[in-house]
Symmetry: C2
Subunit: 169 residues, 2 copies
């Protein structure tokens, strides 16, 4: 994700719009504002996870495992749900297994398959980080009331729908 510390000033936007007449100023400003806020939220999430010796990728794998009734899933399923490649998931699982937060259980019927299991230590780590996470998200979103949130999500969904349409065609 782009780390935007220095959004363009009106003067800079004007300069660029001169050279590139296709520029839609308010579109660019909206686009960059959204990315900037998301980056800041992501950084805030990093700060939270770091307190508990976790990073986004590994934390998300633990959550995906906790969503399962038996705390077990296949690496490829985790990769799909986390939106990363299978190769990346192998690396994440290596780290989590080294820390004892998950374990690899070899399959019996199909010996290609491996089951990833959330260990007691993994669950304990989640029980430590999640209350902190929820607390922080609560505070981060506090500036928006319930009505604001509905409205905000609606605007996000309209952008999302546009993206799906563009990439679909």
């Amino acid at each position: 994700m782009l780390q935007l510390r220095d959004l363009p000033t009106p003067a800079i936007l004007h300069k660029f719009a001169q050279r590139y007449p296709d520029a839609d100023i308010t579109a660019v400003v909206t686009f960059l504002h959204l990315l900037r806020t998301a980056t800041d939220l992501s950084d805030a999430l990093d700060a939270c996870l770091q307190q508990h010796a976790l990073l986004q990728g590994r934390w998300w794998v633990l959550i995906l495992l906790m969503r399962e009734v038996d705390g077990t899933a296949a690496p490829s399923a985790l990769a799909d749900k986390a939106g990363v490649s299978r190769a990346t998931m192998t690396g994440l699982l290596d780290g989590l297994e080294r820390d004892g937060l998950v374990e690899r259980v070899l399959g019996n019927h199909d010996r290609r398959r491996v089951a990833i299991h959330l260990t007691a230590a993994g669950q304990a780590r989640l029980d430590e980080v999640m209350p902190d996470y929820y607390q922080r998200v609560r505070r981060l979103m506090a500036p928006l009331g319930e009505t604001d949130r509905k409205q905000f999500i609606q605007l996000l969904d309209r952008i999302q729908a546009g993206i799906s349409e563009l990439s679909g065609s």
Copy 2:
């Protein structure tokens, strides 16, 4: 940035809220929606830049250089403005220099300093990618009218203000 391919269903949110009573459901949903949309936009940006053999980090450096009147800046200034460490900037500049898009000019007065200069090839690459970029941003933001955009940015700014306040205290 988190790759959220699988947002929690209401059932999952309920399950987690049972175990972690601090959870503020609408806050979490809003938070994840925002990150999800930003991720998708970032992916769309990646797709655009890839058409022109660029990645976000390197592209942003070129833009920062083009903002300067003489197309020149110090590595540390670029690092600050891009929001990355000086070490990361060294790597980005290595890649850009290898591709001939920037050049390092050694300082005369202070021999620690290096000036980074946007080359003609670098400017040409920007002139190739920017119209495509603006075109795509225009289309991505098309679902929102001018009024929507104002409102959206205002909501983003309120979140941003909250973040600054939290990290400041």
